[in-house]
């Protein structure tokens, strides 16, 4: 446990790397409302940390980030506490099963490999989906920033969610914000599945749970975002505690990551008011795909004992995130300057 508290045991270079990476992750999280946390665990794995430390610290980082974001969304009234409590129960069980699987696989010496493969499949799948959606239309992954301004009653329930609501009517039925009636079992099933992934991969699960809440349960986008964050505070807190008991949470990793990401999230969040996210979604999808390739390359390098491939994987995963975060900042500043130059002649 002492090693978990040796915040000064980390080198200044590593601390700076974590603060910088946290900043990048925070910008992505603040802008897209998802998609930062799941870069942390593979990056830690590629830096040579044990699977339990990489997953446990990744989860503790998610917990801290969720606390900060929930404080903001609470003020906006975008949290459905009833939905949140049911989600918490299902997710907690899922996380525990996922966490037990990690330790079991670690005992077999398979944890690193299996987790990396799961990341490749997950990042690749979601990355391909987001990229396809971004290319196809103005929809896609992440938060629809314009939608966040609409009244909750104005939201249309996705077709698939309507079908689920009409088909699965196993009591008890629950009424959620936006007058949505859905079986508590549907919510529990969504919560358990996403909790399982969360515990296994050390991610908040928001990038799976948020679309699941929208498309499987049918809740409005802002409520899905706010409730998801509220839920991550609990699930991430419990998950971090359980990993912490096994020595899997390193404050030397989490503290600098959080320090950077809290600032980045403010920058990313402010950028949403200026930049249309649709144009950047394609980069986001590309980043996920690059992340999948990077983890794959790193794993092959690790298997072959090739240090160069391992380094290449690490550079790719961090580089892809840096490029997208840089694109967000660049586009934001350019948009602000363009707006100002348009206003200036009008004022003359």
């Amino acid at each position: 446990m002492l090693s978990s508290l040796d915040i000064f045991g980390s080198s200044p270079e590593m601390m700076a790397l974590f603060v910088g990476f946290g900043l990048v992750v925070g910008i992505l999280f603040g802008f897209f409302g998802m998609g930062g946390s799941f870069l942390v665990t593979p990056a830690l794995l590629m830096l040579g940390y044990d699977a339990s430390v990489a997953v446990g610290s990744g989860m503790a980082f998610v917990f801290g980030t969720a606390v900060i974001a929930t404080l903001k969304h609470h003020d906006l009234g975008q949290v459905d506490y009833k939905l949140g409590v049911i989600m918490i129960i299902g997710t907690t069980i899922g996380i525990e099963v996922g966490r037990a699987s990690v330790y079991y696989l670690e005992a077999l010496g398979l944890a690193g490999g299996v987790i990396s493969v799961a990341y490749v499949v997950l990042l690749g799948g979601i990355g391909a989906m987001v990229t396809r959606e971004a290319l196809k239309s103005d929809g896609g992954g992440g938060i629809d920033h314009e939608a966040a301004d609409k009244d909750l009653s104005e939201y249309e329930i996705p077709e698939i969610a309507q079908t689920i609501q009409e088909t699965v009517r196993i009591p008890p039925m629950v009424t959620l914000r936006g007058d949505i009636r859905v079986s508590a079992w549907v919510i529990t099933a969504v919560a358990f599945s996403t909790g399982l992934l969360s515990g296994f991969l050390g991610v908040g699960g928001g990038f799976i749970r948020m679309p699941a809440m929208i498309y499987a349960i049918g809740v409005p986008v802002p409520v899905a975002v706010g409730t998801d964050l509220f839920e991550i505070v609990f699930s991430g807190g419990i998950g971090s505690y359980l990993y912490g008991q096994g020595g899997g949470v390193s404050l030397a990793i989490v503290a600098p990551l959080l320090f950077g990401s809290a600032l980045g999230a403010r920058i990313g969040s402010a950028a949403t008011a200026v930049v249309d996210s649709d144009g950047i979604k394609i980069y986001f999808g590309g980043m996920l795909l690059a992340g999948a390739v990077a983890v794959g390359i790193g794993e092959v390098g690790s298997y072959l004992g090739n240090q160069l491939l391992e380094t290449l994987g690490l550079v790719l995963v961090i580089g892809a995130a840096v490029v997208v975060a840089g694109a967000i900042i660049y586009t934001t500043v350019a948009s602000l300057r363009a707006t100002r130059s348009q206003r200036a002649p009008a004022a003359d």
Partner: protein, 54 residues
């Protein structure tokens, strides 16, 4: 291993998670204050005039 594990009370782990929670609160308040204090100056520096990013 396959069974569900009930979290047991561990003061050191609670301290560790508590430290992360406190850091999150401090950063939320601290960066919020910094944004109010330095935000306008930063906007002036970046775009040459104050624009609202809210």
């Amino acid at each position: 291993m396959a069974g569900l594990e009930v979290p047991t009370w561990d003061p050191q782990t609670a301290l560790l998670i508590g430290a992360i929670l406190v850091e999150a609160f401090v950063l939320y308040v601290g960066y919020g204050g910094l944004e109010k204090l330095l935000g306008p100056r930063l906007m002036t520096f970046l775009v040459g005039g104050e624009s609202s990013a809210e």
